[in-house]
């Protein structure tokens, strides 16, 4: 596995923007350092010979957790919509959307 590219302050700003996190300049510096440490640790693992090791998909060795296809009682609509900042026509009213759903 190749060495991960060195994490830059711009990378952190980009990821923060994707996650809609507004970081201060100080926080950008702080998290760039912390995230670089996390990536360094991942790079340590990547340097091991892992051929033949099955990837771990979950911390628990459990598969096929399923439920029967049976309906529950849903939430009361008035109660649900009462939590919303804005409602119209029994729907959640949200600010104008730029672009279409991805």
């Amino acid at each position: 596995m190749p060495e991960p590219a060195h994490l830059t302050r711009e990378d952190v700003a980009h990821v923060a923007a994707l996650a809609r996190l507004h970081l201060t300049e100080e926080e950008l510096d702080l998290f760039t350092g912390q995230l670089a440490q996390v990536l360094d640790h991942a790079a340590d693992v990547a340097s091991l010979d892992l051929a033949g090791v099955v990837p771990t998909a979950h911390a628990m060795a459990v598969t096929n957790v399923l439920r029967p296809d049976e309906p529950i009682v849903c939430l009361d609509r008035d109660e649900v919509l009462a939590q919303a900042p804005s409602v119209e026509d029994h729907r959640f009213r949200v600010p104008r959307i730029l672009g279409e759903a991805p």
Binding site: A57, L66, D69, L98
Partner: protein, 479 residues
């Protein structure tokens, strides 16, 4: 399209699964309910709620994989992160690099094989309505969201870019829809959005060229708009290239009323989804026994149903072009079992197929609910000559109206007493006696006059006589 250009088409079909509840919560999966009535903390993305996978949805997804000849494998779920209010939790749970079904194929009715890259599970989004001045996305003042559809189970079926004509794309969607319905996975209602199609289209000059830059077309709500959109998009790309410009890879929206595709304004980072494994779900690992159990529940697929009818026609001397169309219609409407039962009971294949494709098909819903025994009994009466074709059609309409019944009783109620052989012979003899000249010409070999005499008998019996029986009697008398 111009003959010096070649098309390359791949299709992505989203299919809503016919479950009782959603994919990760027990809210009803129901189209058309009052907005925001089928919601719970899970599908509203409320903190602390946890997803639990719906077993029925998994089995329907496996049924689709089986019907499309896929490898069904161990799979995982990822979070696809994006900010758009159609998902309250700001991510969609989807299968990413380890989908449930891979490497399958679908054979079109003409034998052309389209590869299936994958068919993976994911959850549907809520429904947004854009409100404001223009009523469109651009320029909308605000949006309204209904989360009833949020979390409804979907399977996304991704074809290989194997199709080369709009006709093939149309045939693919039509056949896929039939397979989805036959496997019980979907109701296949494109108009209700339970089946949605996106098309990836590119052009090139020669089969030796690599694929051109492709555009993805969304908002294709019918098989017809799929064909139109592909044709429009191909012409647009060709015009661009010929004028020295380049095709830019992008998502385009089909505008049905304007008959054209339009680029969607998307944000720069729109496709940076930051996928990661969904920590609240464990891997889905179907074993061979489970896969076999699901396969055993699958009924016959449309291709098999068509060839079953064609082989019945072959047994009866071969299929005509018109009969092959009747076969397609009958299978499409799910009425082929009626034909098979009728033939097994001794009804002629041609008659059984024609009545089903032409008459039963006019009310397929009623025909599907009709007791096959009634239907077979009716066709048998017509076959034996006890009812004329016209009478048989009238009795069938009555069977549909009543939702069943005994065809013989209905025929009697309608006054369709089958003519006895004696009275038929008598009526034919009367017609001959009244027209000796025509009779001698008929005896002299003028076969057209058979129609003349049949007409006379029909008139005398007010349509109660069986045309075939009259013709047989005329031939017998001629000797």
């Amino acid at each position: 399209m111009r003959s010096d250009w070649l098309l390359v088409i791949g299709l992505e079909v989203h299919c809503e699964l016919k479950t009782t509840t959603k994919l990760f919560c027990g809210c009803p999966n129901m189209f058309g309910d009052e907005p925001n009535t089928n919601v719970c903390p899970n599908c509203l993305g409320l903190p602390g709620s946890l997803p639990v996978l719906n077993q029925r949805a998994v089995e329907l997804a496996m049924a689709i994989g089986t019907a499309l000849h896929c490898d069904i494998r161990a799979s995982t779920f990822h979070r696809k992160n994006y900010f758009y209010p159609d998902q309250a939790k700001d991510y969609q749970i989807s299968q990413y690099d380890e989908p449930l079904n891979v490497d399958g194929y679908l054979d079109l009715p003409d034998g052309f094989r389209v590869g299936i890259e994958r068919a993976h599970m994911e959850e549907d989004t809520g429904k947004t309505t854009h409100a404001g001045a223009s009523g469109r996305i651009h320029g909308a003042d605000y949006s309204l969201v209904d989360y009833n559809r949020s979390g409804v189970p979907l399977v996304e079926i991704v074809s290989e870019p194997d199709m080369r004509t709009p006709d093939q794309a149309r045939a693919y969607v039509t056949e896929l829809r039939a397979i989805l319905v036959a496997s019980g996975a979907s109701d296949g209602k494109m108009e209700e959005g339970s089946m949605r199609v996106d098309a990836n289209v590119s052009v090139r000059r020669s089969v030796d060229d690599p694929f051109g830059t492709r555009c993805e077309i969304k908002n294709l709500n019918s098989v017809r708009s799929l064909g139109r959109a592909i044709e429009y998009e191909a012409e647009r790309q060709i015009a661009l290239i010929e004028s020295g410009e380049r095709v830019v890879q992008q998502t385009r929206h089909w505008d049905e009323s304007a008959g054209r595709t339009q680029a969607l304004r998307s944000k720069e980072d729109a496709y940076d989804y930051r996928y990661f494994l969904e920590p609240d779900l464990v891997p889905l690992v179907p074993d061979a026994e489970w896969i076999r159990a699901v396969a055993d529940t699958l009924g016959m697929m449309p291709a098999e149903r068509r060839s079953r009818l064609v082989s019945l026609l072959d047994d009866a001397g071969g299929a005509t072009e018109a009969q092959l169309l009747q076969v397609a219609t009958v299978v499409d409407l799910g009425l082929d079992d009626l034909v098979v039962e009728a033939v097994a009971a001794g009804v002629g294949t041609g008659l059984a197929l024609a009545r089903t494709a032409n008459e039963a098909a006019t009310d397929a819903e009623a025909a599907r609910h009709l007791d096959p025994k009634s239907y077979v009994a009716l066709l048998t009466l017509e076959m034996q000559g006890s009812l004329s074709a016209t009478q048989a059609k009238a009795v069938l309409a009555e069977l549909f109206a009543r939702g069943g019944g005994d065809p013989a009783t209905i025929a009697r109620d309608k006054g369709f007493e089958a003519m006895s052989e004696d009275s038929l012979a008598e009526t034919v003899a009367d017609a001959i006696a009244a027209h000796p000249d025509e009779w001698s010409r008929f005896c002299g070999g003028d076969d057209k006059l058979a129609g003349f005499f049949t007409g006379l008998v029909m008139k005398a019996t007010r349509g109660q006589a069986n045309g075939k029986a009259v013709a047989a009697e005329l031939r017998r008398l001629r000797g």
